[in-house]
Symmetry: C2
Subunit: 254 residues, 2 copies
DNA sequence: TTTGGCCAGTTGTCATGACAATATCACGTC
DNA sequence: GACGTGATATTGTCATGACAACTGGCCAAA
């Protein structure tokens, strides 16, 4: 008795690959496959065409096809088995967490984000901040504290510390664009972030800011983010209203 | 002025590669590099030897070396920059989250795990369970509810549902080994898990089970896990004492 | 009927080679 | 001295080829 649905594979439409454009071929292929999965064209449990045949049909080498498939495996949508083939994972698909800011998350879900800026000041680094940012204790840092709102409902209180060089950031930019957008516009590209997710009770001040009753449960997230040169560019302590925000994580065993 | 420390690279000891063993070469290399980073031999900000030279020195091809490095980049320990090289990320290194059970997490931190089994029964799937497990509503499932303890202190209350075929699981196994170990011993290998992390207040019963005051904040995690054939093998709703447990996540932008 | 082995299919690993894109640095010119 | 420009170094992408390891089913033998 076969354990899995052994559906055949449709996947007829795979023509328009730009070989000369700036978009890598493996990326074009992986996007098309992912789209086919999300749209239901490749149903859960169905088998993908094997790597060699797919490559031949698309006029691509096996490493290129393989990398395209691997991208989707890493997202948790496909599962490979040696000797068997590649299959679509069962279960409803959920979007995976990426290295984004709350601002991006909200706009992606069609909410209107806004910001109340509580604090924007230069502040000498205390021991914890210094360690997280990799600077000397007492060095100046940019300290900011914000309330983030979605459709005018408060969602989170965020406190961030940034290295000295960002001290010139304008309050108006922060209110209009969100921190990560401001950093991007200054040429900073985030590459790695280490997050710590927990929970605790709200303080009286936080309860007021978030418009919840005091001693409510809060979802907390500490984050240190690094740019593409491996330097820490942001350290933040955030707390979220758990009825309005939560984290999704997809884990893939290798 | 150079932005980063441009230390040279030591990395002298790279001899003993087993070319005929079952361990892939890229894995042997990546483990050695990772060890060198963790041990401080490759300090934060230092540059790694370039891919071509490293490959030549080890007698390996560039794709192999490249894959070894990529493994570590995916873990968030290294950062690559085209035209520059590969550098060690700044900041203290933290363990990344993997697809493990609480049981593994506790033993890894040298705590003694134990389990109070509250419920172990066959139960027809309700709508939510059926959807998560990908079975028909009303189908029998194995329902279990446990309190997990570390050094005899309650850490979490976990409620899980498993597909019909696991109904024969022994209570003794669950108390002695933890759910994931039991599943592994039955030939199930977890491959993908989708987790949802949030927070809420504790119920009166949960407060008693976890030995905390009522209306405390709880850290919650819902998880659906899939095996290597893409089939859902576990759906769980867990809640943790936030003073004893939290989640670490490392995100890498691609 | 059951058992064992062989064979075909598929992914996993590795080598070699080539060119493209990007960042740094030295150099020369204005 | 400032600026552009080219040379150099390094990672990013892609092709081709080969063999290994694992799975499943078919088939013959016990």
């Amino acid at each position: 008795m076969s354990v899995q649905d052994e559906k055949t594979l449709p996947m007829g439409m795979f023509m328009d690959l730009q070989r000369s454009g700036p978009i890598p071929l493996y990326f074009q292929v992986s996007q098309r496959i992912e789209k086919a999965i999300l749209s239901g064209e490749l149903p859960a449990g169905s088998r993908l065409e094997n790597e060699v045949a797919l490559g031949q049909r698309l006029g691509l080498s096996r490493p290129t096809v393989r990398r395209a498939i691997q991208e989707i495996v890493d997202k948790g949508l496909l599962v490979r088995r040696r000797g068997i083939g590649t299959q679509v994972v069962h279960g409803q698909v959920t979007r995976k967490v990426e290295l984004t800011s709350l601002y991006d998350d909200l706009t992606n879900t069609h909410k209107v984000p806004s910001t109340h800026l509580l604090t924007l000041e230069s502040q000498p680094a205390d021991a914890k901040t210094a360690e997280r940012l990799g600077v000397a204790e007492g060095n100046p840092t940019l300290h900011l504290r914000r309330v983030r709102l979605a459709d005018d409902v408060p969602v989170a209180v965020m406190e961030n510390w940034l290295p000295e060089e960002f001290i010139g950031i304008e309050p108006n930019d922060l209110v209009a664009h969100g921190l990560y957008q401001v950093l991007r516009s200054r040429g900073v590209t985030m590459r790695v972030a280490r997050q710590h997710i927990g929970a605790r009770k709200s303080t009286i001040e936080e309860s007021a800011l978030l418009e919840i009753e005091k001693n409510s449960a809060l979802l907390t997230m500490d984050r240190t983010a690094f740019d593409n040169s491996g330097r820490a560019v942001e350290f933040g302590q955030h707390c979220y209203r758990p009825d309005l925000y939560s984290f999704e994580v997809t884990l893939v065993e290798k």
